[in-house]
Point group: C2
């Protein structure tokens, strides 16, 4: 904590420790994890709790993220001006496809999941809304890359290949720049991206771009399911349904740009 200059940074460094994997922390525990003084962390937690940013469990005395963050999170424009407007359409698409449907945007050279509607069927994905993931190994990511303006795509590929040093999650993951570039060209031609077990064995995914009324890619839409259920011959139908959804979304979001 010595390296951090401003209290603002310290505040959010603390909040970042409250993850899905570890949503509850005690003072001492957290101070140890952050490598900071106990009383310093104590004061931060106390302050944040008073504001409702953290919640202190009456019995366990452990802290977790509070309603204030839920409140602020819902005020973010991406949520109020995009997700809220597109969600009903997502429900429609999911109903018609009967597989899990996702929307993602491109952020920091990664995909950022902003909404999903889960398949009513047993097998589901476990992606979290508000979570990030690699762009190179997913249909959502590849399609976002494919429809980026050339200069931006160049730069994105550069960053992905150098700073992220792609990991082969499965034997099908594309980790090579040339291969990815060719794939992106093909995606742009076909209008959709396919991910056949590139990020996880047994998982298949189709993704299409969502354009705003300036014809800029603003997000991508996907359907995904287990490989045994996700038949080759359905892909065309999925794409058609997704595109119908994308068109409807386009009407609703005006000139939105994330």
């Amino acid at each position: 904590m010595k390296e951090l200059k401003s209290s603002v940074q310290k505040t959010f460094k603390i909040l970042e420790y409250f993850t899905t994997q570890k949503p509850e922390w005690g003072v001492t525990e957290l101070a140890k994890a952050i490598g900071s003084n106990k009383s310093t962390v104590y004061r931060f937690l106390a302050d944040l709790t008073k504001l409702g940013v953290l919640y202190k469990h009456p019995e366990t005395e452990k802290y977790s993220l509070g309603l204030k963050l839920f409140e602020l999170g819902n005020r973010v424009q991406l949520k109020s001006a995009f997700v809220d407007k597109t969600h009903p359409e997502l429900i429609e698409v999911a109903k018609s496809i009967t597989e899990t449907v996702h929307i993602a945007v491109f952020k920091n050279y990664q995909i950022f999941h902003i909404d999903k509607v889960e398949s009513p069927q047993g097998l589901k994905l476990s992606s979290r809304i508000g979570s990030s993931g690699p762009a190179y190994s997913t249909a959502l990511g590849k399609v976002l890359l494919a429809f980026l303006p050339t200069a931006e795509q160049e730069q994105a590929l550069q960053v992905i290949m150098t700073e992220q040093s792609p990991i082969a999650f499965t034997e099908y993951t594309i980790t090579n720049r040339q291969t990815l570039q060719k794939e992106l060209i093909k995606i742009k031609e076909k209008g959709y991206a396919l991910d056949r077990e590139e990020s996880e064995m047994g998982l298949i995914c189709v993704g299409i771009p969502i354009f705003n009324q300036h014809n800029e890619v603003v997000a991508s839409l996907s359907a995904s399911g287990p490989s045994n259920r996700f038949k080759e011959e359905n892909v065309v139908n999925y794409v058609t349904t997704l595109q119908k959804g994308a068109t409807a979304i386009r009407q609703r979001i005006d000139y939105f740009k994330p």
Copy 2:
């Protein structure tokens, strides 16, 4: 800003200024509004932007709430352990009722909207997820109050009547403690609350409680619509459908307590 001691408080005081009504701010403007120095606010905004908590529009140079808050907001347990699990059920209820459906919890003696599914029909409410509102003038609020343990209800009524000094939004709004208390008893007997234009003229609302597996009220569920469409004879049907939803939700949330 002089009165505020910790930077944590200053940070969230700043974030609170980014509302739905005014989601974008410039430095000078915001400094004036807060009553603080320009360069101080500038540094806060710069720090917050670097962290992704705020977003600085490339052209307008204005600041707005950023994706980091969306991310953190989705990690709040109420969202990940409650809303995510209950949302599909909400969709079902809304589909079957064909009116807007809401879920709220009780917080700080107010109702806190945590999820909604809008009616596909033209006329809609404009409540925001993550927003608070009075408990005494809504079906969601009255039903939450009605099923509170006696001691807590006492205290809640006390706070509401003294600190909130109820406002008569319409001629039907209950602003009197005795009247409200009688109403709560009736609600508990009947098992549901009705709001006939008590918070807004032309708006009718039915609400029922959601219990967890310890039989504690954890939330309330409502259907609402314009008075011309919302016929008396449908209320029973609505209640039945809502209760079916509440039962399904109860299964999914285990012993959740907000």
